[in-house]
Symmetry: D2
C-alpha cells in the first residue's frame, strides 16, 4: 500500500503484520520477541498451522506508539527475519486508510451499503472512485461526492476500456477493487495486476450455481436455502478463494423475484463482512483457500 | 398406506388430504365445502398455486370424529370430486402410523437420532426393520427391539441382495424407507417401486459437492459453510426433490475430521426434520421440487 | 384505511381479509364459499385456531378483478356475515398503499433502510412524513423528497409537541407510524389513538434488557447473542405484541461499540421485516401476542 | 485435576495453559519465550485484553513431547513466572481425561446426548457416575456401564442427600459436574466447593425467562425465538457466567408442547457445545462473564 508520507514522518498508532512461512519450532516466540524487543506492545496475536502443508500463518497487531526505532528501520529488520524463515509478509498501519475503487453495473444494493457503511465510519476506507459500465448509478457518486467514471463495454471495446480503467486505478494508487455486482468479466491481465486485491460478490452459495442467473438456477432446483459468496477474483471465473458466505431460508412460496429480493439483503451483508475483514488485514489467502483471523 | 383394520372399523381422530390439480377458480371453496358438508371440522388448510404451471396444491386437515359417513364412503365421494378436477390425492389418518424401514451402513448418528426421537413419541412412526450392509449397528436393533437384517453387498450380489430386501419390505408392507447414511446406490427398479417414499440424507449442501466425499470436497474448496440435504431418492443420484437443507459455519481451523464431526449434528437434524415433514404429510413433490406445507 | 377514491371507482387487483372470531365448525368453508360466490378467486388462505381460547383467525387473499358486485356492496355483505359469527375483520386492497409516518431521533440506520427499501419498491408504502425531535436527519427528508418535521422535546413541552404531531398525522390521514429508533416515550393518549398501528424497534431480545441501554446491559451480562425486537406499541413500555425478532452472535472480543455496530444491522433488518409483514396485512394481534400469516 | 500417575511418569502429547493477570507490555513474548526455551512447540496461542479492567488473558497450547525438563519442573518454573506477573493459571495435558459426574432428573435428552457423544470420542471425558433424584433414567447407566446413584430429594432431606453426593464426588475425584436438566437447586456450600466446575443448561435465552417454566413464559409472552443457555453455576440461581447460548425460531403455530420439543434439540446442542469448550480448556471465567478461546 502506497502512502503520501515518507516512512519516517508517520506516527502510527497500531501496526499489523500478516506473515506466512514454512512451519518450524519457536516461530510464535521469535516473532513476539522481535516485536517486543523493538518497543511494540502486542494487542492481538493469532496464528494457524496447516498441518498437511506444514505452513505457519500469523497475524500480529501491536501498539506502535512507543517503538524504539523508525518504522522504516523496523521494516528493514523485519525483512532480515523474514529472509531467515523464508516468510512472505505484509505490514499495515492504522492511519493508512486503504484506497478503494468500486466497480458496479446497475444494481445499487451492494454499493449503497458500502458507501453508507463507510460514511458512518464502519469501514474506514478511502473510496476514491466509482467505475461503471452504465450511467445508472451516477447519482450515488454525486451524493457521496465520489468521482464516477462510466465506461460502457461492448464486445469490441472491452480491452480498450479496461486499459482506461487501469490507468485510472494506477493514477490514483488504488489498493483494492470491489466488484459490487459488476456484471463484466475482467481480463486475466487486469486480474493478475491486482492479486488478492479484487473482491467480488457472487449471488449464490458457491460452488453451487456458479455462472449466470444463480437465483433462477436455485429456483429451478428447488433448494431450501439461497446463498451469497464473496471471494477474491482470480483468472478462473467464480473460483477464487472464498472470504465469506451466507445463506437465507426460502420456500416454495418464493417466486424468482422473491429470491432476488432476499438475495439483496444477503449479498450486501456478505460483501460488507468480506470487505471489513480484508481492510482489517484479517484475510490471508493460501492456495485456493483463505485463512481468516477474526 | 395399507392398514390392518377394515376401513369401516376405524375411528380416526383427524384426517389429512394432500391434493394437486390444474388451477381453476373456486377450488379452495369447493374442497372446504366438500369436507364441511360431510361433518369434517377443518383444523388446518394450506394451499399454493404455481403460477407458471397453473397448478393448484392443497393440504387440508380436519377433525374426522363427527364425519356423517364412513371413511370408505368419504373416500369414494372424494374420488368422484378428484375425477372432476383432474386431481391427484392422498389421504392419511392420524391413527395410521406409517411403517418405516431404516437402511444404514456403519455411521450411527442418523439412525440413532431417528430411533430415539421415535421412542419419545416425536415421530409417531412404526419402525419395522433396520436393513444394513454391515453388522456394525446390529446392537441398535437389539436395544430398540427392532429386527435387524444384514445384507452384505459386493459388486456381484447387489441385485440379488436388493431382491431379498424388497421381499422384506413388501412382506412387512413398508410405507417409507429412510436411507440414514446408507452407502449403497439403489437400482432404478428399487427406486421406482417406492416413488417419493425413499428419503436420503446427503452430507452436503446440494447441488454443491454431490457424489463421494463431500466434506473433503468442501475442505479442499475452502467454503465457509457446510451443509446437509435431505431429498427423495430418484433414479438420478443426488438429484431428487429436496425436502430440507441446513448449514453450519466452519473456519480454516476445522480439519476434515472437524467437518465430519460438525456434519454429524447437521445431518441428523436435517434428516429428522425431513422425516417429520414427510410423516405429517406436509410434503408434496412436484416435478423436480417439493412444496412443503409447514 | 382511508382512501381518496370512492369505493365504486376502485378496480382492485387483489383483496385481503384479516378476520378473527370465536371458533366453530365450518368457518373455513363458509368464508371460502362467501368469497367464491361473489366472483373472488382465492389466491391464498391461511388460518389458525388458538385452542385454549377457542378463537379462529384467518387471512384470505383473492383476485378481485372479477367480483360480481362493487367493493362497497361486498363489504356490506361481509359485515352481515361478520355479525353472524361475531367476527372482527379488516379488508385491504392491493392498490391502496398505506400512508406512513416515520418517527426518528438521531440514529439513521433504520430510517435509511426503510426509505431505501421503499424507493426500490420493496415496501410499496406511501411515506408521507418524517417526524423527529432533532434536526440531525433533515437531509434524508430532502434526499427522498419527504416532508421533515422537527419537534424538539423537553420535559415541559412534550404534550404540546405531541399535540402538534397528532395534528400532522390526522391531517395527512396516516395509517401507520414507524418508530425508527425514536428515543421519546409516547403518551398513552397518543398510543391509544393508533392501536396496533405504531411499530417500534427495540434494540434487545425482549423481554431481556428492556429499558435503556440494552447493549450495555448485554455487554455487562456477558451474553453470547444479542437481539432486536420489533413490536406494536402499547401503553406499557416495551411490552407490546412482538411482530419479529432476530439475533446475532457476539463474543468477548466485542466491545460495547461493536455490539452497537452489530446491532445496527440487526435492528434495521428486523424492523424492515416487521414493517413488510404489517403492510402485507399478515399480522393479527391477539391479546399480548401476534399471529403472523407468512 | 488429579491424576493417578505421578508427574514424572507422564508422557503428555500436548499441554494447555490458561492464564490471566494484570496487563503489561511484553506478556505474549514472555510467555511464548518461556514455553519455547523449555522445548515446547506452540501449536495455538490466543490472547485477549479487557481494556477497562486492564486484564490480560491467554490460552497457549504446545507440543510437549520434546520438553527439555519434566512436567513437574516445568510447572515449578511456571509458578515462579506467574508469581512475578501476579497471574492465576491452570495447566492441563492431553492425556488427562477429565472425570465427570452427570446430574439428571427425568429428562433424558441432554444426558443421552452427552453419553453418546462421549462414546464416539467427541468429548474425550471420563464419565464416572450419574446422579439423579429419580430412578427414571437408571437404564442409561446400565446401557453405558456407568454407575447410577439415586438420591431422592424431599424438602427435609436435601442437605443430607447433598452430603452423600459430595462424598461420592470427592471419593471419585470428580473434576466437573454437569447438570443435565437436574431440577434441584444446589446449596451454596455445594456450589462453592466446585467453583466454575458445575455446568448447567437453562432452557431459556437468559436473562429472559429465568426461573421456572421458561417455555410457558415464552409462550405467554409471544416471543418469536426461544433459547437455551449453558452457564457455570454460582450461588445466585440462573446468574452464573454464560458459556454458550442458542436460539430457534417459533411461530404462533407452536403450542407449549412444540416449544418443549424444539427446546430439546436446542438444549442438548447448547449444553454439548459448552461441555466441549470447558473440557478443551477454552473457557476462562472473569467476573460475571466468560472469555471463550475458540
Amino acid at each position: 500500500m502506497e502512502n503520501d508520507l515518507t516512512m519516517e514522518e508517520r506516527v502510527p498508532l497500531t501496526a499489523t503484520l500478516l506473515l506466512s512461512c514454512p512451519d518450524r519450532k519457536g516461530l510464535v516466540a521469535r516473532i513476539a520477541q522481535f516485536v517486543f524487543q523493538r518497543g511494540g506492545n502486542i494487542l492481538n496475536l493469532d496464528e494457524h498451522v496447516e498441518k498437511d502443508e506444514r505452513m505457519f500463518f500469523t497475524r500480529v497487531e501491536w501498539d506502535a506508539g512507543e517503538l524504539t526505532l523508525p518504522i522504516a528501520a523496523f521494516e528493514q529488520e523485519l525483512r532480515l527475519l523474514a529472509g531467515e524463515i523464508s516468510a512472505e509478509w505484509k505490514m499495515t498501519y492504522s492511519h493508512d486508510r486503504q484506497r478503494l475503487a468500486i466497480f458496479v453495473s446497475k444494481h445499487e444494493h451492494c454499493i449503497r451499503e458500502i458507501l453508507w457503511l463507510n460514511s458512518i465510519g464502519e469501514l474506514d476506507a478511502d473510496i476514491r472512485m466509482i467505475v461503471s459500465n452504465h450511467e445508472t448509478l451516477r447519482n450515488l457518486g454525486v451524493q457521496y461526492d465520489i468521482p464516477f467514471h462510466c465506461h460502457p463495454i461492448t464486445g469490441a471495446n472491452r480491452l480498450e476500456q479496461e486499459s482506461l480503467q487501469r490507468g485510472l486505478l494506477a493514477g490514483d494508487r488504488i489498493d483494492t477493487i470491489i466488484l459490487a455486482r459488476y456484471m463484466q468479466v475482467l481480463s486475466p491481465e487486469f486480474v493478475n495486476a491486482y492479486p488478492f486485491r479484487i473482491i467480488n460478490i457472487h449471488h449464490s452459495f458457491l460452488p453451487a450455481f456458479s455462472g449466470a442467473n444463480p437465483y433462477r438456477q436455485a429456483y429451478d432446483k428447488g433448494v431450501k436455502l439461497i446463498g451469497a459468496t464473496s471471494h477474491y477474483v482470480t483468472e478462473v471465473l467464480d473460483e477464487g478463494p472464498i472470504i465469506e458466505q451466507g445463506v437465507a431460508r426460502i420456500s416454495h412460496r418464493d417466486a424468482p423475484g422473491d429470491l432476488i429480493s432476499k438475495g439483496r439483503e444477503l449479498e450486501r451483508s456478505v460483501l460488507a463482512r468480506a470487505i471489513r475483514l480484508h481492510l482489517a488485514n484479517r484475510v490471508l489467502p493460501f492456495g485456493k483457500k483463505t485463512i481468516i483471523f477474526e
